[in-house]
Each structure stands twice: as structure tokens, then as C-alpha cells.
Symmetry: C2
Subunit: 253 residues, 2 copies
């Protein structure tokens, strides 16, 4: 079993470094275990943590407030919940925590503001949740981006980041959808699975901790229906945000 | 040691049922253990939980939003953080969680809106954090209320509540201040300690779970300075709100 997991991981790394578009079965790729990434991020005194992403990360934050460790600036989603837990549990470390997620963002939007909203903040830990809109907006807003644009853009973003911040510790969240709830219909599949597989393969290739959100939300539906965890299939409820925060916090020692 | 704690507890109960104003030493009273109250609240399917209090509970909630389990309606303080944890951990129970804290409130303010903002909501679990303003506003706003008004008003509120909702499970939070941080100066003591002692004695007398916030914030200062936990000595930072949420959650099974 260990053997099998290892070869799967090698396969993922190989395809991630080669062409992601040749992957035949995103589902098989996603089945590979990710438990080995838990607790990989080690927090040190004085470190800067940055949450980046779309509306799921933004979660109503006050964009005029650029402060770290500020309630208004952190919004009220998983980033705020995770920040609250970190600031309480690691009080001796004097952490600086920013949220720069912006509603509606896709990979090209992150790229256009990466210098100001990431590199200039010099994060020691950089968490990126992006990809739902890269797919979703192709259905709803006439967005022309492809899975290849997503993958290549994401890799370029990380290449630029590693050049500026060679010691940055990366966390990549899996784009997820709760099928059957409002926005997330059967028409999302199998195309959307490619974005999930891409995010995972990129995480493996760049040594990032991967947060397997789809698995987390799938498992949660044993406790309560999908509508309990997300209002529209995409945006978490309070319970869903706490679920994401828990999954995120597992990445940290 | 067990013996001593038990007699202290009996003393507390006796004075609580008699006249609270005869208590000579609030500090001695507060030294009694409260660990036996942990996990006393048992949550059941379909229950309603209500957070009541002042600005610490309010924490910027949208007062036009009367919904339960709504991010905007829960604010971004300890009530939201505790609600998120409850909704995630007890997903199978379909809990209904309200926040009706209002900034600046004292006991008379709660009394004037108790029918609409408490009894009508029929909470199964009622959490009340009140008392800082009952004292603080005597220093800053010419408020004329006394410790006796606080104690008698609080008891009347609970008597009315128990009449309407005989099975309600009560949680009472200790008014607390972080001395030396902005608003909370030496001039608060010893008078403010009487409010802490009163809240505790009332909790004992009414079978409420008592959240020992002062102890929680005192202990936290071993990890980080007071200003890390509260901006002005009264209002918690994010880390302080998480600290309160953790203390609150200990009350619940």
C-alpha cells in the first residue's frame, strides 16, 4: 500500500512537471493520498501569513483596511477563523496575518496584482485558494480561459513567487463544488475535475501543502446535507467556513 | 483541598441566595473553583442558542439582520467564533444560533428589550455576558447604577426568564478587564471586582455555567502581553475573542 502510494505520488510529480493536460483521469489522480502533507508548515516567531484567493477567501473583508490581524481586514470566512485560531494558539510568536482574497478572482486577476498583494508583503506562509471562478465563469460570464491557462498561469505565479521569496512555505487549496446545490450542476463535470486535479498536481510539484477541500466537503455530507455547508454550492456557510479552517489548520504544526 | 473547595462553594451559594452586598472579599469569592461547571450544557437536536450581552457580544453584527446562523447577524467576536465551532461540530443537531448583544448595554438595557430579544426567541441555551458597562459607565458617562442595581436587575432578569422558559440552560460570562490597558486603570479596583463576584454568585445561585473570563485573560498574559488580547482593556482582539470562544465552548458537551 505504501509502495502504491509512493508510485502514485511519483506519477503525480512527473505529470505536474510535464504537461498536466495529458492526464487521462482526474478522478484517479485525486484518489492519491494527501495525508502526508499534514503538519508540514512550521510556524516561527515573527512570521507573515498571507491568505490569497477569491470570494471564498475574501468573505466580505473591508478592502480599504490593509492591516494585519484586523477583524475587518480578515473578513468572516475560513481565513478569519483560521487566523483567530492561529493568533490564539501561537500567541508567543507574534504572527502577522493578512487576507488579500478578492471576490470573483481567477488566476489572471491574481497575476495582475501579485506584486502589490503578495510579493511586497513578503509572506513566510502563502496560502492560495483559486480555481472555482476559472471554471465557473466559463459557464456564466463568457470567460474564455481554459484549464491550460489556469495551470500555466498558476505555475507562473508560483515560479515568480519562488524567485522573490525562495523560502516561502506554500499552501494550495483545492477548488471544490458541492454538486446539486444551486450553482453547481451536473454541467460542471467532468471539466471541473480537471481544475481540482491541476491544483493538486501543482501543489505536489511545488512542494506545497494541499488542502483537499472536495474530500472535506464530501465527507461532511455524512453529517448534514450539502446546503448546510454551502448556500450555493460554492460559498461556504459558517459551518462550511469552519470546516475549511479546520482543514487548513491541519497543515500547520 | 477538595474539602476546602466544597465549603467555599457552599459559602458562595449561601451568600448568593442571601444578600450579595454583604460579601466582604470579592477576591476570596472569585478564588473558588469553577471547573465543575465544564461540560454541563448538553446540546440536543433542534435547540436554540442565544448569545446576549454588550459590545463584546455584539462585535459589529448587522442589527438589521435578525437571522439565525448568519455570518452578518452573528458579528465577528466570540459569539461568531463559538457559533462556527458549534455549527461545524454539531452538524447533525440542526442548531439555531442567534446573537442579540448590543454595544453599550447594561442590565437595564437588557431588561427593556428582554421580551423581544430573549423570551420570544425561546432559547434552550441562553448565554449572557453583561456587567462591564454597568461599572465602566459610572466612571465615563455619569451612569448612576450601583452594584446593587446590577445584582438585583440581573436576578430579576433570570427570574423572569425561568418563569417563561423553565428548562432554559444558562451560561453567565464573567465581566472582565485587562488592567493597565487603556480604559482599565487602577481606578477600577476594588469596585469592579464586586461586579465579577456578583456575576459569579448569580451563576451559582441560578445553576448557570460560569465562564471565568478574568482568569482566562489573566492566564493568557503568560503567553503574550495584555494588549495582544484586548485593544482597550475591555474589547477583545481576534486572539482574545478566540480565547473567549474556547472558554465558552468548554461549557458545552
Amino acid at each position: 500500500m505504501q509502495q502504491e502510494n509512493n508510485s502514485r505520488r511519483n506519477f503525480v510529480k512527473f505529470t505536474a512537471l510535464g504537461s498536466l493536460l495529458t492526464i487521462g483521469s482526474p478522478a484517479a489522480l485525486l484518489a492519491a493520498t494527501t495525508n502526508d502533507t499534514n503538519g508540514k508548515i512550521k510556524l516561527e516567531k515573527g512570521q507573515v501569513i498571507l491568505f490569497q484567493g477569491d470570494s471564498i477567501t475574501d468573505a466580505g473583508r473591508d478592502k480599504n483596511n490593509k492591516d494585519a490581524n484586523s477583524t475587518a481586514a480578515l473578513g468572516n470566512g475560513y481565513a478569519y477563523l483560521a487566523a483567530a485560531a492561529l493568533l490564539q494558539a501561537h500567541a508567543d510568536k507574534n504572527l502577522t496575518i493578512y487576507n488579500r482574497g478578492i471576490s470573483g478572482n481567477k488566476i489572471p486577476d491574481l497575476a495582475s496584482r501579485w506584486q502589490a498583494d503578495c510579493l511586497n508583503l513578503k509572506p513566510d506562509v502563502l496560502s492560495i485558494f483559486i480555481g472555482v471562478n476559472d471554471f465557473w465563469h466559463t459557464l456564466t460570464s463568457g470567460y474564455k480561459g481554459t484549464i491550460s491557462n489556469y495551470t500555466d498561469g498558476f505555475k507562473k505565479l508560483l515560479d515568480d513567487t519562488k524567485k522573490s521569496l525562495p523560502n516561502v512555505q506554500l499552501i494550495i487549496g483545492e477548488p471544490f463544488g458541492v454538486t446539486g446545490i444551486k450553482a453547481v450542476t451536473a454541467s460542471w463535470y467532468p471539466a471541473f475535475d480537471e481544475y481540482r486535479a491541476s491544483a493538486k498536481a501543482i501543489a505536489e510539484a511545488y512542494g506545497a501543502t494541499f488542502i483537499p477541500c472536495q474530500k472535506v466537503f464530501d465527507a461532511a455530507q455524512k453529517e448534514a446535507p450539502g446546503s448546510y455547508w454551502t448556500g450555493d454550492g460554492v460559498h461556504p456557510t459558517i459551518a462550511g467556513a469552519e470546516l475549511m479552517a479546520h482543514a487548513w489548520l491541519k497543515a500547520v504544526k
